[in-house]
Symmetry: C2
Subunit: 198 residues, 2 copies
Protein backbone atom coordinates (compact mmCIF):
# COMPACT_ATOMS: atom_id res chain seq x y z
CA UNK A 1 0.00 0.00 0.00
CA UNK A 2 1.31 3.41 -0.96
CA UNK A 3 1.77 5.99 1.76
CA UNK A 4 -0.76 8.81 1.93
CA UNK A 5 0.06 12.38 1.02
CA UNK A 6 0.05 15.45 3.22
CA UNK A 7 -2.02 18.13 1.47
CA UNK A 8 -1.36 21.62 2.83
CA UNK A 9 -3.89 24.35 2.08
CA UNK A 10 -3.18 28.02 2.65
CA UNK A 11 -5.52 30.86 1.90
CA UNK A 12 -5.85 34.47 2.95
CA UNK A 13 -8.34 34.81 5.81
CA UNK A 14 -11.91 34.88 4.50
CA UNK A 15 -11.14 33.01 1.27
CA UNK A 16 -13.45 30.16 2.27
CA UNK A 17 -10.76 27.73 3.39
CA UNK A 18 -12.87 26.11 6.14
CA UNK A 19 -15.80 25.48 3.81
CA UNK A 20 -13.51 24.03 1.16
CA UNK A 21 -11.88 21.71 3.71
CA UNK A 22 -15.26 20.55 5.05
CA UNK A 23 -16.51 19.78 1.54
CA UNK A 24 -13.33 17.95 0.58
CA UNK A 25 -13.58 15.79 3.69
CA UNK A 26 -17.19 14.98 2.79
CA UNK A 27 -16.12 13.97 -0.71
CA UNK A 28 -13.13 11.77 -0.01
CA UNK A 29 -13.16 8.84 2.35
CA UNK A 30 -9.38 8.56 2.12
CA UNK A 31 -8.87 12.06 3.52
CA UNK A 32 -8.34 12.98 7.18
CA UNK A 33 -8.15 16.44 8.71
CA UNK A 34 -5.17 17.49 10.77
CA UNK A 35 -6.56 19.47 13.71
CA UNK A 36 -4.18 22.20 14.79
CA UNK A 37 -3.60 23.33 18.35
CA UNK A 38 -4.03 26.98 19.29
CA UNK A 39 -4.14 29.23 22.33
CA UNK A 40 -6.54 31.69 20.69
CA UNK A 41 -10.18 31.82 21.78
CA UNK A 42 -12.77 29.88 19.75
CA UNK A 43 -14.81 31.93 17.28
CA UNK A 44 -18.59 31.43 17.40
CA UNK A 45 -19.37 27.91 16.16
CA UNK A 46 -15.83 26.57 16.53
CA UNK A 47 -15.52 23.40 18.57
CA UNK A 48 -12.61 21.90 20.50
CA UNK A 49 -11.39 18.73 18.83
CA UNK A 50 -13.11 19.57 15.57
CA UNK A 51 -11.84 22.91 14.27
CA UNK A 52 -8.93 23.23 16.69
CA UNK A 53 -7.62 21.88 19.93
CA UNK A 54 -8.02 25.01 22.07
CA UNK A 55 -5.29 24.91 24.70
CA UNK A 56 -4.08 27.01 27.60
CA UNK A 57 -0.71 28.61 26.97
CA UNK A 58 0.96 26.43 29.63
CA UNK A 59 -0.27 23.22 28.02
CA UNK A 60 0.85 24.43 24.60
CA UNK A 61 4.34 25.13 25.91
CA UNK A 62 4.50 21.70 27.49
CA UNK A 63 3.78 20.16 24.10
CA UNK A 64 6.53 22.26 22.52
CA UNK A 65 9.02 21.00 25.08
CA UNK A 66 7.98 17.39 24.34
CA UNK A 67 8.58 17.96 20.61
CA UNK A 68 4.97 17.09 19.82
CA UNK A 69 4.64 19.67 17.04
CA UNK A 70 5.81 19.33 13.47
CA UNK A 71 5.92 23.14 13.51
CA UNK A 72 4.56 25.86 15.77
CA UNK A 73 4.44 29.64 15.63
CA UNK A 74 3.02 32.75 17.21
CA UNK A 75 0.57 34.58 14.93
CA UNK A 76 -1.51 37.60 15.96
CA UNK A 77 -0.23 37.05 19.54
CA UNK A 78 -1.53 33.49 19.67
CA UNK A 79 0.28 30.16 19.53
CA UNK A 80 -0.54 27.74 16.72
CA UNK A 81 0.94 24.28 16.29
CA UNK A 82 0.62 21.21 14.07
CA UNK A 83 0.60 17.91 15.98
CA UNK A 84 3.15 15.51 14.57
CA UNK A 85 1.82 12.06 15.50
CA UNK A 86 -1.56 12.27 13.73
CA UNK A 87 -0.04 13.15 10.36
CA UNK A 88 2.58 10.43 10.66
CA UNK A 89 0.14 7.65 11.59
CA UNK A 90 -2.62 8.62 9.14
CA UNK A 91 -0.33 8.84 6.10
CA UNK A 92 1.37 5.59 7.11
CA UNK A 93 -2.06 3.92 6.98
CA UNK A 94 -2.45 5.12 3.39
CA UNK A 95 -4.78 8.04 4.07
CA UNK A 96 -4.19 11.53 2.78
CA UNK A 97 -4.13 14.28 5.37
CA UNK A 98 -5.52 17.77 4.87
CA UNK A 99 -3.84 20.57 6.79
CA UNK A 100 -4.99 24.19 6.71
CA UNK A 101 -2.15 26.48 7.70
CA UNK A 102 -0.66 29.89 6.95
CA UNK A 103 2.21 30.52 4.56
CA UNK A 104 5.00 30.43 7.14
CA UNK A 105 3.65 27.17 8.59
CA UNK A 106 3.38 25.64 5.12
CA UNK A 107 6.99 26.46 4.32
CA UNK A 108 8.16 25.04 7.67
CA UNK A 109 6.30 21.78 7.07
CA UNK A 110 7.56 21.42 3.52
CA UNK A 111 11.09 21.51 4.93
CA UNK A 112 10.15 18.70 7.36
CA UNK A 113 8.07 16.66 4.88
CA UNK A 114 9.38 17.32 1.37
CA UNK A 115 6.73 15.06 -0.23
CA UNK A 116 3.84 17.21 1.00
CA UNK A 117 1.87 19.11 -1.60
CA UNK A 118 1.10 22.80 -1.19
CA UNK A 119 -2.12 24.31 -2.49
CA UNK A 120 -2.70 28.03 -2.37
CA UNK A 121 -6.35 29.09 -2.51
CA UNK A 122 -6.97 32.70 -3.49
CA UNK A 123 -10.14 34.78 -3.46
CA UNK A 124 -11.27 36.17 -6.83
CA UNK A 125 -9.92 39.54 -5.67
CA UNK A 126 -8.80 41.29 -2.51
CA UNK A 127 -12.01 43.30 -2.59
CA UNK A 128 -14.05 40.10 -2.33
CA UNK A 129 -11.93 39.15 0.63
CA UNK A 130 -12.74 42.39 2.44
CA UNK A 131 -16.46 41.93 1.72
CA UNK A 132 -16.46 38.40 3.12
CA UNK A 133 -14.74 39.46 6.32
CA UNK A 134 -17.14 42.35 6.72
CA UNK A 135 -20.13 40.04 6.19
CA UNK A 136 -18.65 37.78 8.86
CA UNK A 137 -18.59 40.85 11.14
CA UNK A 138 -14.89 40.66 11.89
CA UNK A 139 -13.68 43.70 13.86
CA UNK A 140 -12.46 46.44 11.53
CA UNK A 141 -8.92 46.59 12.97
CA UNK A 142 -8.72 42.83 12.43
CA UNK A 143 -9.84 43.28 8.84
CA UNK A 144 -7.18 45.93 8.18
CA UNK A 145 -4.49 43.72 9.73
CA UNK A 146 -5.62 40.68 7.76
CA UNK A 147 -5.85 42.60 4.48
CA UNK A 148 -2.21 43.61 4.87
CA UNK A 149 -1.30 40.00 5.65
CA UNK A 150 -3.31 38.74 2.69
CA UNK A 151 -1.45 40.94 0.26
CA UNK A 152 1.88 39.60 1.41
CA UNK A 153 0.51 36.04 1.49
CA UNK A 154 -0.59 36.27 -2.14
CA UNK A 155 2.99 37.07 -3.03
CA UNK A 156 3.99 33.80 -1.39
CA UNK A 157 1.77 31.77 -3.72
CA UNK A 158 4.68 31.34 -6.11
CA UNK A 159 6.32 29.00 -3.58
CA UNK A 160 3.33 26.65 -3.71
CA UNK A 161 2.72 23.70 -6.02
CA UNK A 162 -0.83 24.58 -7.01
CA UNK A 163 -2.83 27.80 -7.25
CA UNK A 164 -6.63 27.59 -7.06
CA UNK A 165 -8.95 30.59 -7.29
CA UNK A 166 -12.12 30.26 -5.22
CA UNK A 167 -14.48 32.16 -7.50
CA UNK A 168 -16.86 29.19 -7.50
CA UNK A 169 -16.89 27.01 -4.40
CA UNK A 170 -17.86 23.72 -6.07
CA UNK A 171 -15.30 24.26 -8.81
CA UNK A 172 -12.54 25.01 -6.31
CA UNK A 173 -13.41 21.88 -4.30
CA UNK A 174 -13.44 19.78 -7.46
CA UNK A 175 -10.06 21.16 -8.48
CA UNK A 176 -8.43 20.35 -5.15
CA UNK A 177 -10.09 16.93 -5.20
CA UNK A 178 -8.42 16.39 -8.60
CA UNK A 179 -5.07 17.56 -7.29
CA UNK A 180 -5.18 14.95 -4.52
CA UNK A 181 -6.21 12.20 -6.96
CA UNK A 182 -3.54 13.19 -9.47
CA UNK A 183 -0.73 13.44 -6.93
CA UNK A 184 -1.44 9.91 -5.69
CA UNK A 185 -0.92 8.70 -9.28
CA UNK A 186 2.55 10.23 -9.57
CA UNK A 187 5.08 7.58 -10.42
CA UNK A 188 7.42 8.66 -7.63
CA UNK A 189 4.65 8.18 -5.06
CA UNK A 190 3.76 4.67 -6.18
CA UNK A 191 5.81 1.93 -4.68
CA UNK A 192 8.03 0.03 -7.06
CA UNK A 193 6.22 -3.14 -5.99
CA UNK A 194 3.01 -1.64 -7.44
CA UNK A 195 4.75 -1.14 -10.76
CA UNK A 196 6.27 -4.61 -10.72
CA UNK A 197 2.92 -6.24 -9.92
CA UNK A 198 1.23 -5.33 -13.20
CA UNK B 1 -4.57 33.08 -20.98
CA UNK B 2 -2.34 30.23 -19.87
CA UNK B 3 -0.91 27.97 -22.55
CA UNK B 4 -2.42 24.49 -22.87
CA UNK B 5 -0.57 21.37 -21.87
CA UNK B 6 0.52 18.47 -24.03
CA UNK B 7 -0.69 15.26 -22.40
CA UNK B 8 1.12 12.18 -23.66
CA UNK B 9 -0.45 8.78 -23.07
CA UNK B 10 1.41 5.53 -23.56
CA UNK B 11 0.05 2.09 -22.94
CA UNK B 12 0.95 -1.44 -23.96
CA UNK B 13 -1.09 -2.49 -26.98
CA UNK B 14 -4.54 -3.68 -25.92
CA UNK B 15 -4.63 -1.72 -22.67
CA UNK B 16 -7.65 0.25 -23.85
CA UNK B 17 -5.79 3.41 -24.82
CA UNK B 18 -8.11 4.32 -27.73
CA UNK B 19 -11.24 3.97 -25.61
CA UNK B 20 -9.71 6.04 -22.84
CA UNK B 21 -8.75 8.77 -25.30
CA UNK B 22 -12.20 8.82 -26.86
CA UNK B 23 -13.87 9.12 -23.47
CA UNK B 24 -11.51 11.85 -22.31
CA UNK B 25 -12.21 13.86 -25.45
CA UNK B 26 -15.94 13.48 -24.82
CA UNK B 27 -15.51 14.72 -21.26
CA UNK B 28 -13.30 17.76 -21.76
CA UNK B 29 -14.11 20.56 -24.16
CA UNK B 30 -10.63 22.02 -23.65
CA UNK B 31 -8.95 18.88 -25.00
CA UNK B 32 -7.89 18.21 -28.59
CA UNK B 33 -6.51 15.00 -30.08
CA UNK B 34 -3.21 14.98 -31.91
CA UNK B 35 -3.68 12.70 -34.92
CA UNK B 36 -0.49 10.86 -35.79
CA UNK B 37 0.68 10.03 -39.29
CA UNK B 38 1.49 6.45 -40.24
CA UNK B 39 2.31 4.34 -43.24
CA UNK B 40 0.70 1.22 -41.75
CA UNK B 41 -2.60 -0.05 -43.12
CA UNK B 42 -5.80 0.94 -41.30
CA UNK B 43 -7.29 -1.68 -38.96
CA UNK B 44 -11.01 -2.39 -39.35
CA UNK B 45 -12.95 0.68 -38.21
CA UNK B 46 -9.99 3.06 -38.35
CA UNK B 47 -10.56 6.21 -40.37
CA UNK B 48 -8.16 8.57 -42.12
CA UNK B 49 -8.13 11.95 -40.37
CA UNK B 50 -9.72 10.55 -37.25
CA UNK B 51 -7.56 7.77 -35.83
CA UNK B 52 -4.52 8.42 -38.02
CA UNK B 53 -3.47 10.16 -41.17
CA UNK B 54 -2.70 7.10 -43.30
CA UNK B 55 0.03 8.10 -45.72
CA UNK B 56 2.05 6.54 -48.50
CA UNK B 57 5.70 6.06 -47.62
CA UNK B 58 6.76 8.72 -50.16
CA UNK B 59 4.48 11.34 -48.69
CA UNK B 60 5.68 10.50 -45.19
CA UNK B 61 9.29 10.95 -46.23
CA UNK B 62 8.48 14.28 -47.82
CA UNK B 63 7.06 15.47 -44.50
CA UNK B 64 10.21 14.32 -42.72
CA UNK B 65 12.35 16.34 -45.11
CA UNK B 66 10.18 19.43 -44.46
CA UNK B 67 10.66 19.04 -40.70
CA UNK B 68 6.91 18.69 -40.20
CA UNK B 69 7.22 16.10 -37.43
CA UNK B 70 7.95 16.74 -33.78
CA UNK B 71 9.27 13.16 -33.78
CA UNK B 72 9.01 10.19 -36.08
CA UNK B 73 10.09 6.57 -35.91
CA UNK B 74 9.85 3.19 -37.56
CA UNK B 75 7.95 0.62 -35.48
CA UNK B 76 7.00 -2.89 -36.64
CA UNK B 77 8.30 -1.89 -40.10
CA UNK B 78 5.94 1.08 -40.35
CA UNK B 79 6.59 4.80 -40.12
CA UNK B 80 4.85 6.80 -37.39
CA UNK B 81 5.13 10.55 -36.87
CA UNK B 82 3.68 13.33 -34.73
CA UNK B 83 2.76 16.48 -36.67
CA UNK B 84 4.31 19.55 -35.10
CA UNK B 85 2.02 22.41 -36.18
CA UNK B 86 -1.24 21.11 -34.67
CA UNK B 87 0.25 20.71 -31.18
CA UNK B 88 1.87 24.12 -31.34
CA UNK B 89 -1.24 26.00 -32.45
CA UNK B 90 -3.72 24.18 -30.20
CA UNK B 91 -1.71 24.66 -26.99
CA UNK B 92 -1.05 28.29 -27.93
CA UNK B 93 -4.83 28.79 -28.06
CA UNK B 94 -5.07 27.49 -24.48
CA UNK B 95 -6.31 24.00 -25.31
CA UNK B 96 -4.75 20.85 -23.94
CA UNK B 97 -3.63 18.28 -26.49
CA UNK B 98 -3.87 14.53 -26.05
CA UNK B 99 -1.27 12.44 -27.82
CA UNK B 100 -1.21 8.64 -27.76
CA UNK B 101 2.26 7.37 -28.52
CA UNK B 102 4.70 4.62 -27.64
CA UNK B 103 7.45 4.88 -25.04
CA UNK B 104 10.25 5.89 -27.40
CA UNK B 105 8.06 8.57 -28.97
CA UNK B 106 7.06 9.88 -25.56
CA UNK B 107 10.68 10.25 -24.50
CA UNK B 108 11.57 12.00 -27.75
CA UNK B 109 8.74 14.50 -27.32
CA UNK B 110 9.56 15.21 -23.70
CA UNK B 111 13.02 16.25 -24.86
CA UNK B 112 11.43 18.64 -27.38
CA UNK B 113 8.63 19.89 -25.10
CA UNK B 114 9.83 19.64 -21.49
CA UNK B 115 6.51 20.92 -20.08
CA UNK B 116 4.53 18.00 -21.51
CA UNK B 117 3.08 15.52 -19.04
CA UNK B 118 3.55 11.80 -19.47
CA UNK B 119 0.89 9.33 -18.38
CA UNK B 120 1.52 5.61 -18.52
CA UNK B 121 -1.59 3.44 -18.61
CA UNK B 122 -1.11 -0.19 -17.64
CA UNK B 123 -3.45 -3.16 -17.89
CA UNK B 124 -4.34 -4.87 -14.59
CA UNK B 125 -1.92 -7.63 -15.61
CA UNK B 126 -0.08 -8.89 -18.68
CA UNK B 127 -2.50 -11.82 -18.83
CA UNK B 128 -5.42 -9.41 -19.25
CA UNK B 129 -3.51 -7.81 -22.06
CA UNK B 130 -3.12 -11.11 -23.92
CA UNK B 131 -6.83 -11.85 -23.47
CA UNK B 132 -7.84 -8.48 -24.88
CA UNK B 133 -5.64 -8.88 -27.95
CA UNK B 134 -6.98 -12.40 -28.49
CA UNK B 135 -10.56 -11.13 -28.19
CA UNK B 136 -9.69 -8.49 -30.77
CA UNK B 137 -8.51 -11.38 -33.02
CA UNK B 138 -5.03 -9.99 -33.51
CA UNK B 139 -2.77 -12.46 -35.38
CA UNK B 140 -0.91 -14.71 -32.94
CA UNK B 141 2.59 -13.70 -34.11
CA UNK B 142 1.53 -10.07 -33.57
CA UNK B 143 0.36 -10.93 -30.08
CA UNK B 144 3.67 -12.58 -29.20
CA UNK B 145 5.63 -9.63 -30.57
CA UNK B 146 3.46 -7.13 -28.72
CA UNK B 147 3.60 -9.08 -25.43
CA UNK B 148 7.39 -8.86 -25.54
CA UNK B 149 7.17 -5.15 -26.28
CA UNK B 150 4.66 -4.64 -23.48
CA UNK B 151 6.95 -6.20 -20.91
CA UNK B 152 9.75 -3.85 -21.82
CA UNK B 153 7.35 -0.89 -22.02
CA UNK B 154 6.13 -1.53 -18.47
CA UNK B 155 9.70 -1.17 -17.31
CA UNK B 156 9.75 2.27 -18.93
CA UNK B 157 6.84 3.46 -16.78
CA UNK B 158 9.28 4.75 -14.21
CA UNK B 159 10.27 7.52 -16.62
CA UNK B 160 6.69 8.81 -16.74
CA UNK B 161 5.03 11.39 -14.51
CA UNK B 162 1.88 9.41 -13.79
CA UNK B 163 0.98 5.73 -13.65
CA UNK B 164 -2.67 4.73 -14.11
CA UNK B 165 -3.93 1.15 -14.01
CA UNK B 166 -6.88 0.49 -16.30
CA UNK B 167 -8.68 -2.09 -14.17
CA UNK B 168 -11.86 -0.02 -14.37
CA UNK B 169 -12.36 2.09 -17.49
CA UNK B 170 -14.44 4.88 -15.94
CA UNK B 171 -12.04 5.14 -13.01
CA UNK B 172 -9.01 5.33 -15.30
CA UNK B 173 -10.68 8.04 -17.41
CA UNK B 174 -11.59 9.99 -14.28
CA UNK B 175 -8.04 9.73 -13.01
CA UNK B 176 -6.51 11.05 -16.23
CA UNK B 177 -9.17 13.78 -16.33
CA UNK B 178 -8.01 14.78 -12.83
CA UNK B 179 -4.37 14.73 -13.88
CA UNK B 180 -5.11 17.22 -16.69
CA UNK B 181 -7.12 19.46 -14.35
CA UNK B 182 -4.47 19.34 -11.65
CA UNK B 183 -1.55 20.02 -13.98
CA UNK B 184 -3.25 23.17 -15.31
CA UNK B 185 -3.39 24.43 -11.70
CA UNK B 186 0.36 24.08 -11.17
CA UNK B 187 1.86 27.38 -10.15
CA UNK B 188 4.61 27.14 -12.75
CA UNK B 189 2.01 26.73 -15.53
CA UNK B 190 0.00 29.77 -14.51
CA UNK B 191 1.17 33.05 -15.90
CA UNK B 192 2.50 35.55 -13.41
CA UNK B 193 -0.16 37.96 -14.64
CA UNK B 194 -2.82 35.50 -13.39
CA UNK B 195 -1.24 35.54 -9.95
CA UNK B 196 -0.91 39.33 -9.92
CA UNK B 197 -4.52 39.81 -10.96
CA UNK B 198 -6.10 38.35 -7.82
Amino acid sequence: MAKGTLVIISAPSGTGKSTICRKLLGKRRDLRYSISCTTRLPRPGERHGKHYFFLEKEEFKRKISRNEFLEWAVVHDNYYGTPRSFIESATKEGNHVLLAIDVQGAMAIRRKIPGSILVFVAPPSLETLRERMTARRDASHHIAKRMANSKSELGAAKNYDYFVINDDLEKAVHQIDCIITAEALRVERQETTDLAAV
